[in-house]
C-alpha cells in the first residue's frame, strides 16, 4: 500500500491505496473500502476506449481507468461531482445537455461533460467539426451524438439554428 495525497473537487484528500489501484477505483470505491464514493464517474469499457471515466487531472481530460491512483499524487482532480454550481444547481454546460437532448440513458454523460468542459476551456467557441473531433474518445450508445454536439455548441453561446436538424 502507498499513501496518496491529492485534491478532489477542491478538497484535499489522503488515502492508502494499493499500487495497482486505478484512479477511477479510488474515486468510485466505497469509503468503507478506502475509496471516495464518487460514483458519478462511470466505467464503461475499462479498456481505454469509451471515455465514460473521463475526469480532469490538473485541468486536463484523462481516462481515469487508464491512470494509476499513485500517479495522481499531488494532482488536482475534478470529477462530474465538481461541475455543478456552488448552490447545487446545474452549470450552464450541464443544463445545455438537459435542454438539447444531450443524454438518454446518461451512462456516457459524466465523461461527455468532462471532455466538453476541457474543450471549452481550450477553445471557448469551437466549430461543430471541432466539437465532433474532440469527442473522438467518448462513445455514446444512445443519442447519435447530435444532441451532445448541440448542447456543447449551445453552452459555448453559439447559434443553434445554424446546425442541421437531427
Amino acid at each position: 500500500m502507498t499513501k496518496v495525497t491529492l485534491t478532489v473537487n477542491g478538497k484535499a484528500v489522503s488515502r492508502e491505496v494499493e499500487q495497482r489501484t486505478l484512479l477511477v477505483q479510488l474515486l468510485r470505491d466505497d469509503p468503507a473500502s478506502g475509496g471516495l464514493g464518487l460514483t458519478g464517474t462511470h466505467v464503461g469499457c475499462d479498456t481505454s476506449q469509451c471515455g465514460a471515466c473521463t475526469v480532469h487531472v490538473d485541468g486536463m481530460a484523462v481516462k481515469s481507468c487508464t491512470m494509476l491512483a499513485v500517479e495522481a499524487e499531488g494532482a488536482a482532480v475534478t470529477t462530474i461531482e465538481g461541475m455543478a454550481n456552488a448552490d447545487g444547481s446545474l452549470s450552464p454546460l450541464q443544463q445545455a445537455f438537459q435542454d438539447h437532448h444531450g443524454l438518454q440513458c446518461g451512462f456516457c454523460t459524466p465523461g461527455m461533460v468532462m471532455t466538453a468542459a476541457a474543450l471549452l476551456a481550450e477553445n471557448p467557441t469551437p466549430s461543430e467539426s471541432a466539437v465532433r473531433y474532440y469527442l473522438e474518445g467518448n462513445i455514446c450508445r444512445c443519442t447519435g451524438y447530435h444532441g451532445i454536439v448541440k448542447a456543447i455548441m449551445a453552452a459555448s453561446g453559439q447559434d443553434m439554428p445554424a446546425m442541421a436538424a437531427e
Binding site: T2, Q19, L22, S48, M60, T66, L68, E71, E73, G137
Partner: protein, 262 residues
C-alpha cells in the same frame, strides 16, 4: 491487474537504478502498458514511473533539429512543435483522442513500436536519433520489427532528436475503431534527399519505401509515385483491409503527403 511495486524517481539515473530490479519495467503515459497489464499481457514486478523526471520533459530547438524529451506527452508536442515542425505537431495532435494525448508520450510510443503507431513513421522518415540513458541509436537501427526495438533490458528512451525537414507531411488513414493508423505515411524532404516511412501496413512494422524516396529525391511531385507499385506480400491483412488494399494505400497516401507538403 496483478500487483506490483511502484517507484517514482525524479532523475534518469535513479530510474535506471530502479530498473535494475528483476522484472522491472518503465511506466510512461500508461496508455498502452496499463491496458496490457489489465489483460495480463504484461505483469511487471516493479513499475518505474517516468512521469516525475523533469529532464525527460519538453521540447527544445538545437540548430536544425528538434529535441523532444522522452516523457513529453502527445498533447505537448501538438502544441509546442507547431512553429518548428508543423507536420510533427499535426501527427501528435491526431494520435488517438484528447485524453490519450494528455497522457501518452513519445518515448512510450517509440519504445512500444506498435506496427500501427504514428511516431515511429516520423522518427524513421526524419532519420531521427533515439537518445537513451546509455547511447544514441539511429532510427534506421532502432526499429526491429513488430513491437521490437534495439532497446536493451532496462534501457530508457530519454529523448529523441529529429532533424527538421524543409518540407514534410504525415498522412494517416484512420482505422475508425482503434483510431490508430490503418496506414500512415510520413514524407520528409531535406537538402540531401527525401525519406518516406510507412506505418500500419507491414507485418514487420514501420519501414522505408526506398523506391519512392529515389523517385521523390529526383522530382518532388505527387505524380512521381503514381507509376510505382508496392508489393502486397508481407502487408497486414485483417477485417479492416486486405494486404493488397494496404499496399495500394501506401502509394496513394505517399502521393497525398507530397501534395500536402507542397
Amino acid at each position: 491487474m496483478q500487483s506490483f511495486d511502484f517507484v517514482r524517481p525524479s532523475s534518469v539515473a535513479e530510474a535506471v537504478a530502479a530498473l535494475g530490479a528483476e522484472d522491472a519495467q518503465p511506466l510512461s503515459g500508461g496508455q498502452t502498458l496499463l491496458p496490457s497489464m489489465k489483460q495480463r499481457l504484461a505483469a511487471p514486478a516493479v513499475l518505474v514511473s517516468l512521469s516525475g523526471i523533469a529532464e525527460m520533459q519538453g521540447l527544445r530547438r538545437e540548430g536544425d533539429s528538434l529535441v523532444i524529451g522522452g516523457a513529453t506527452t502527445h498533447a505537448t508536442v501538438a502544441r509546442a512543435a507547431r512553429t518548428d515542425f508543423p507536420a510533427l505537431a499535426e501527427l501528435a495532435g491526431n494520435i488517438g483522442d484528447p485524453a490519450v494525448r494528455n497522457r501518452g508520450t513519445i518515448g512510450g510510443s517509440l519504445a512500444n513500436n506498435d506496427p500501427s503507431a504514428c511516431y515511429p513513421a516520423a522518427a524513421l522518415a526524419t532519420g531521427a536519433t533515439i537518445v537513451t540513458d546509455r547511447r544514441q541509436i539511429a532510427a534506421d537501427d532502432f526499429f526491429q520489427g513488430l513491437f521490437t526495438t534495439a532497446l536493451e533490458e532496462g534501457e530508457i528512451v530519454t529523448a529523441v532528436r529529429l532533424p527538421i525537414p524543409q518540407r514534410a507531411n504525415y498522412q494517416k488513414f484512420i482505422q475508425p475503431a482503434s483510431r490508430f493508423a490503418l496506414v500512415g505515411v510520413f514524407v520528409a524532404s531535406y537538402a540531401g534527399g527525401v525519406r518516406v516511412a510507412v506505418t500500419g501496413a507491414s507485418g514487420d512494422g514501420v519501414f522505408r519505401w526506398t523506391e519512392a524516396e529515389a523517385a521523390l529525391s529526383d522530382r518532388f511531385a505527387a505524380d512521381a509515385v503514381t507509376g510505382l507499385t508496392v508489393e502486397a506480400e508481407g502487408m497486414i491483412g485483417d477485417l479492416h483491409g486486405t494486404p493488397a488494399y494496404r499496399a495500394n494505400l501506401v502509394r496513394v497516401l505517399t502521393g497525398r503527403a507530397v501534395a500536402a507538403a507542397g
